[in-house]
């Protein structure tokens, strides 16, 4: 009995250390000045003027010494929502805020997050009239080093902010590698990184511009009734979806069954490829979509949707590229079985010979072989693009941007790519 007791106590202690992590977006809505009826939106001139690289005077211990401040937007019908994001160099940290003007000051209200942990909190920032506010709100602002000071507080969780954050304008954002793409994995990031929307969801597509993304990679599979949907894994599992009682391979379920019974981790429905591309074309300014084919067999249906949405994007005046991913030999053979495949925009992860054979627009090697500058130069010489995937280690992201010549980095941490790209000199 004594022996059994020892074993039971020890076992319970042994397995008690598993922790359920969460990083919910804090409730930042109740900031009186921000909600003042006279607080108004900023115009495009003011928004553009305050974009730049800032030096942190206060808060550098928490976020690092530099910040890249950049605006993004999404549409919903005739409404457009703007967010200002600050990308920091320490611990893959960032803030995402809404911005308003109040008299001659500018206010930012939102939250911050560290992607390496679950740390998050409210952030409230102000640009005072004499600290750049009046300048930014002028008709033709000329911003120089030191002319804008963003000051405010940040807190932990839902607590009122109590820690000082202060940033001084240093220089313009880098655009030297233009048109460099910041590609977000699985439409914005993995579900395991505890983001406010689930991977491969329409909601994540609408969030990802706030993370600095200018393009997305999404995973495409078929349902049992032939509907292309966004989903990464082979099976319905609790990593990706909520408990439903349904298990097994996703290809065995119809779209109607999935739509009725399955919800992603954050409550969203599994979207069709059409719903996802609708969101990209009509509600974001994303410039690139990589359709990662997670199925074997004919690509015709995906090709038809790709063509339809390229036409819709062109008709909407959007500069958007949509490519069909070719990750393996099976998909390669399916792709070259398509009629007119050589004129179908594609992204090939295989050898350069196969890239040439299928006339892929993009060659996309794994990051694990390094920057491969000679091969990238060869690809550029052929008029193609070179993307690298999936780069998540901050030190490597820095190295690839400083020493590599890729046209895009695919990452689960677009905020980290954005920071490194925009502060690069």
């Amino acid at each position: 009995m004594k022996k059994l007791l020892i074993i039971l106590i020890s076992s319970s202690f042994l397995f008690s250390c598993k922790k359920d992590y969460q990083a919910p977006v804090p409730d930042f809505a109740s900031w009186a000045p921000f909600n003042d009826p006279s607080a108004a939106s900023l115009n495009i001139v003011s928004r553009s003027a305050l974009e730049g690289v800032y030096t942190l005077d206060k808060g550098a211990d928490m976020f690092g010494g530099l910040a890249a401040v950049k605006w993004s937007y999404t549409h919903n019908g005739n409404d457009t929502t703007f967010h200002v994001s600050g990308f920091f160099g320490k611990d893959i940290s960032y803030f995402i805020c809404q911005g308003k003007r109040l008299n001659d000051s500018i206010l930012f209200n939102g939250y911050w997050r560290k992607m390496v942990s679950t740390e998050t909190g409210i952030v409230r920032l102000t640009i005072g009239a004499n600290e750049g506010g009046s300048l930014i709100l002028s008709r033709n602002p000329v911003v120089t080093r030191g002319s804008i000071v963003i000051k405010g507080m940040f807190g932990n969780g839902n607590e009122l902010p109590g820690n000082e954050l202060s940033m001084v304008y240093e220089r313009k954002l880098n655009n030297s590698l233009s048109p460099f793409l910041i590609m977000a994995h699985r439409s914005g990031g993995r579900t395991s990184d505890l983001l406010p929307a689930s991977e491969n969801s329409v909601e994540m597509i609408l969030k990802t511009p706030e993370f600095g993304s200018t393009g997305i990679e999404i995973d495409v599979r078929y349902t049992s009734d032939g509907v292309p949907i966004l989903y990464h894994d082979n099976t319905l599992n609790l990593r990706v979806v909520r408990k439903s009682g349904l298990t097994g391979e996703i290809k065995n379920y119809s779209f109607s069954q999935l739509s009725t019974f399955i919800r992603l981790i954050n409550g969203e429905k599994i979207p069709t490829l059409r719903q996802a591309l609708d969101a990209v074309v009509y509600r974001t300014d994303l410039r690139f979509v990589w359709l990662d084919t997670k199925f074997d067999g004919p690509i015709d249906e995906v090709r038809a949707i790709q063509k339809e949405y390229l036409q819709k994007a062109a008709a909407a005046g959007r500069s958007l590229n949509i490519v069909i991913g070719i990750p393996g030999e099976d998909q390669f053979n399916s792709f070259i079985a398509l009629p007119n495949y050589q004129n179908t925009p594609s992204l090939c992860e295989l050898s350069i010979e196969q890239v040439e054979q299928c006339n892929a627009l993009v060659w996309a090697p794994r990051f694990t072989e390094g920057p491969q500058n000679e091969k990238v130069a060869l690809i550029h010489g052929q008029g193609r693009l070179a993307f690298v995937w999936t780069l998540d280690v901050p030190e490597y992201i820095t190295n690839f941007i400083q020493n590599g010549h890729f046209d895009a980095i695919l990452s689960n941490y677009p905020t980290c790519v954005a920071f490194n790209y925009y502060v690069h000199q």
Binding site: L14, E369, D392
Partner: protein, 241 residues
């Protein structure tokens, strides 16, 4: 954090030294690896060979979860009655871990034994095929403490608590590399080990571990460390030679 752990260990050793327990002569039938039994003069070496099975967290490693067993060789060399050198080699060919450390053991009562120790581990891994050109290595420190309970039959039960402190990390992909000598508290491992005679006077170790770490050497090729501790259940089976 590192200093705090070291001081705690020294204090613990001092307290245990002060607690004058009843010493018990080593009995050859208890050839154990986890149980904190002193090695008296009759014995020079103990060793075991076996394997470990580890499950990686599904939400992080997804469909590429490692399920390969790890070859496990464990050896103990007597220094004095109460002090041993503990060495261990864990291998999956493409990734390997070596550790060595000093352990101090003390009988408290006829049935209860304690030990405290510190091990230094070095791990290295390489992947050079199928689109990979990667290698990595690192140093880890493992302060540890064990409590052993000798039942009146032949079953020996050990509870071992071990900290993990990352000392150094180096990684390379193609021509790009980086290293970090940032020392950080990595996490802890709790192990419940059962040891008893198995066959032909040979002994068997069966250990269940709960590893809660920010970084685990076996996952170096799958993902980089985070500040979140991830949980890895592990089973160790060892045949004492």
């Amino acid at each position: 954090m590192y200093l705090r752990n070291t001081l705690s260990l020294i204090l613990l050793l001092f307290m245990v030294q002060k607690a004058s327990g009843q010493d018990t002569s080593f009995h050859p039938k208890h050839a154990v690896m986890f149980f904190p039994y002193p090695m008296y003069k009759k014995e020079r070496w103990r060793s075991s060979i076996g394997f470990q099975l580890l499950t990686t967290p599904e939400d992080i490693t997804e469909e590429t979860r490692i399920r390969l067993p790890v070859l496990d060789w464990h050896g103990i060399k007597r220094i004095s009655d109460h002090v041993t050198v503990d060495g261990r080699l864990l291998s999956q060919v493409l990734q390997n871990h070596l550790s060595v450390g000093l352990h101090w053991m003390k009988p408290i009562t006829k049935n209860l034994y304690l030990s405290a120790g510190n091990d230094i581990g070095y791990w290295f891994g390489f992947l050079k095929f199928a689109g990979f050109n990667s290698e990595a290595s690192g140093w880890i420190n493992y302060p540890n403490f064990s409590v052993g309970y000798k039942t009146n039959r032949e079953l020996l039960i050990t509870f071992k608590a071990q900290c993990s402190i990352n000392l150094f990390y180096k990684s390379a992909n193609g021509t790009e590399s980086f290293s970090s000598s940032n020392t950080f508290y990595n996490g802890e491992t709790f192990t419940l080990a059962l040891e008893q005679p198995f066959y032909n006077k040979k002994h068997l170790t069966l250990a269940f571990s709960g590893i809660s770490n920010k970084f685990l050497w076996q996952t170096w090729a799958l993902f980089y460390k985070t500040d979140r501790k991830l949980f890895y259940p592990q089973i160790t089976v060892g045949f004492i030679l």
